[in-house]
């Protein structure tokens, strides 16, 4: 009897320890979740406060009882936010499309074709992955300026297309497609081009989608290159747009309208993320870099 008591006492102690530990873990995780979410809450909240209400709050309020959408109307009329969106959309779509075409062709050459100098070129490609963007941006700036492509979409897009890493990623995926498929297609008299388009691309679609999404995120957030190459507002992307809004846009003090612009810029990517959550997280853990 005494032994049994001892056992249940130990069990109880273990359970208490477990639940204390759980409480600590959940508190920690919950705390950081709040830290992550709070800025998002704050931008939405502020964007819903009216200009006068916001400025009347010397001590900021944590909620609002009179939400208004006037800031959103303001954000799209007082500054050309819609144009910034359109520019970013054009830039993102074209850059991603060209990048995909270039990447698919190069990855196919490396994975499936055989030609002189292939290994050497592939090694060189890998070496290029280590080159930081900061080192090449200077000459690219001069090149684009000399080609008279400043403040054009070509100037924005051309240097942003290449991504050695994506070529590498896709090549690895292409190489996993069994050789038998290729030989069977050859026997049937299928051309390489047709084989690439009808067999390789469909099989590797998941990787292609991942690459495309990562590139879209990168394009949507790109700031440095667009800032260097555009000073005409008509070609601003959202990042540059938000920076110029901050510096001159609504007048420095119209914070609610600014936040409405920030929310509008953030929403598309957050929606994209929530829809493709698994793909994005898997893609990033395979090869994303940031920070």
């Amino acid at each position: 009897m005494a032994e049994k008591n001892e056992y249940s006492r130990l069990e109880k102690a273990a359970r208490t320890r477990q639940s204390v530990q759980n409480a600590v873990v959940y508190t920690l995780l919950g705390f950081w979740a709040v830290m992550v979410l709070f800025p998002f809450y704050w931008m939405v909240l502020t964007s819903l406060k009216s200009y006068s209400a916001y400025n009347a709050e010397y001590i900021p309020k944590l909620f609002t009882l009179n939400p208004t959408l006037e800031n959103y109307a303001n954000a799209f009329t007082a500054v050309p936010l819609a144009d910034y969106f359109l520019n970013t959309l054009i830039f993102t779509v074209i850059t991603t499309a060209v990048m995909l075409a270039v990447t698919v062709l190069a990855a196919f050459a490396f994975a499936r074709l055989d030609f002189k100098g292939k290994d050497l070129v592939f090694t060189l490609f890998l070496a290029l992955m280590m080159i930081p963007n900061e080192l090449v941006v200077i000459t690219n700036f001069v090149t684009i300026t000399e080609l008279d492509l400043r403040n054009t979409f070509s100037g924005l897009i051309l240097p942003s297309v290449t991504s050695v890493f994506y070529i590498y990623l896709l090549k690895e995926n292409f190489a996993q497609v069994p050789d038998e498929l290729y030989y069977a297609a050859k026997v049937d008299g299928t051309s390489d081009w047709r084989y690439l388009m009808r067999v390789m691309v469909p099989i590797c679609k998941p990787t292609l989608v991942t690459i495309a999404i990562l590139k879209v995120i990168e394009c949507w957030n790109s700031y440095v290159w667009p800032r260097l190459i555009t000073d005409d507002e008509a070609y601003f992307l959202v990042s540059n747009g938000i920076q110029s809004i901050r510096e001159s846009g609504f007048g420095r003090e119209n914070i609610p309208a600014m936040m409405a612009a920030v929310v509008s810029i953030s929403v598309p990517l957050i929606v994209l993320f929530l829809v493709f959550r698994e793909k994005i997280m898997e893609g990033v853990s395979r090869g994303g870099t940031k920070g």
């Binding site: 873990v25 920690l28 995780l29 950081w32 979740a33 992550v36 979410l37 704050w42 931008m43 400025n55 010397y58 001590i59 900021p60 075409a101 270039v102 990447t103 062709l105 190069a106 050459a109 490396f110 074709l113 055989d114 030609f115 002189k116 080159i131 930081p132 900061e134 080192l135 200077i138 000459t139 001069v142 090149t143 300026t145 240097p159 297309v161 290449t162 070529i167 390489d192 995120i217 957030n221 700031y223 440095v224 260097l228 990042s239 938000i242 920076q243 901050r246 510096e247 003090e253 936040m259 920030v262 990517l269 957050i270 993320f273 997280m281 990033v284 853990s285 870099t289 940031k290 920070g291």
Partner: protein, 296 residues
């Protein structure tokens, strides 16, 4: 496989063209620029060849300020973000309920526009004549004095910059560490538990050695990323970072190239190459250390 030289190269042409024009050529060119003295971008002429650009950059107070800021940022944020990420990932992998939700939330900063969200941080920390700002309100609650984090004292600004940087880089680290923790073999844990090994001992003797390659990978990429900090600072303090005393090395490069004091590709090149040399050195040191301590 039959050799088909022409076809192979045909498929490669677009990639080679893009990389050649926008990566290989600039890479060579940046070294040439950095040695051309007195280069004038309008007339494309220069006086001579030598080390003057490097000398100028190394004596420029703005550059020294930028180097100081960057180093402080690196030294604070890399260990802090890696440690925090480790803590959070270990917490995440010890729970079952709400795990997916937490993971999704933690990843959000990765998919947001750094410039846009930086503005939110600015208004949270800023103290203006109209409002104290939320962070100062909290400080006041705890009986502290209000501080202007955006245009105020140096260390207040540096604090915000570090805070925002950690906020931005954590998602990537948490993601990588959580998948590394998930791949540690369960048998190892079971064996240790049968032996009655205490939890902290399991962590230091099994978990850490198993994930040490990942941790070092994160430290190395973390160093490289932090040395290239720039847009976070712009988001918080605006484009005139020199005036805010918050410039970074990359910011200095871009300011030299284009901006208020711009038009000097030679100085920009010299600064970029100095940055590259610093990053390369630190990465090599990291690799040497990791050889000694990482268990594969």
């Amino acid at each position: 496989m039959e050799k088909n030289n022409l076809k192979g190269w045909l498929y490669l042409i677009p990639a080679v063209l893009f990389l050649g024009v926008f990566m290989v050529y600039p890479l060579i060119d940046v070294f040439i620029y950095s040695f051309e003295e007195g280069y004038n971008s309008a007339s494309q002429t220069y006086f001579g060849v030598g080390m003057y650009n490097y000398e100028y950059v190394l004596h420029d107070p703005y550059f020294l300020q930028a180097v100081k800021n960057t180093f402080i940022l690196v030294i604070i944020t890399v260990p802090l973000s890696t440690g925090l990420a480790l803590l959070i990932s270990v917490g995440l992998s010890s729970i079952q309920k709400l795990r997916n939700l937490f993971q999704t939330v933690y990843f959000l900063p990765y998919v947001t526009n750094t410039l846009a969200v930086g503005l939110v941080f600015m208004i949270l920390f800023e103290k203006t004549p109209y409002t104290e700002g939320l962070v100062n309100l909290i400080i006041n609650w705890f009986g502290g004095e209000s501080v202007d984090f955006i245009t105020g004292p140096y260390w207040a600004k540096m604090f915000v910059l570090c805070f925002y940087t950690v906020w931005v880089v954590l998602p990537f680290k948490i993601l990588i560490l959580t998948s590394a923790l998930a791949s540690v073999k369960q048998e190892l844990y079971n064996a240790a538990r049968v032996d009655g090994t205490p939890k902290w001992r399991i962590f230091w003797r099994i978990t850490m050695p198993m994930i040490s390659p990942t941790v070092f990978y994160l430290v190395i990429t973390g160093f490289i990323g932090a040395f290239k900090a720039y847009s976070d600072a712009v988001a918080l303090f605006g484009t005139d970072l020199n005036a805010a005393e918050m410039n970074t090395i990359v910011g200095y490069v871009y300011d030299m190239l284009y901006g208020t004091g711009g038009g000097y590709p030679s100085f920009a090149s010299a600064a970029a190459i100095i940055l590259f040399a610093i990053v390369l050195t630190i990465t090599c040191i990291n690799l040497l250390i990791s050889k000694k301590h990482v268990h594969y």
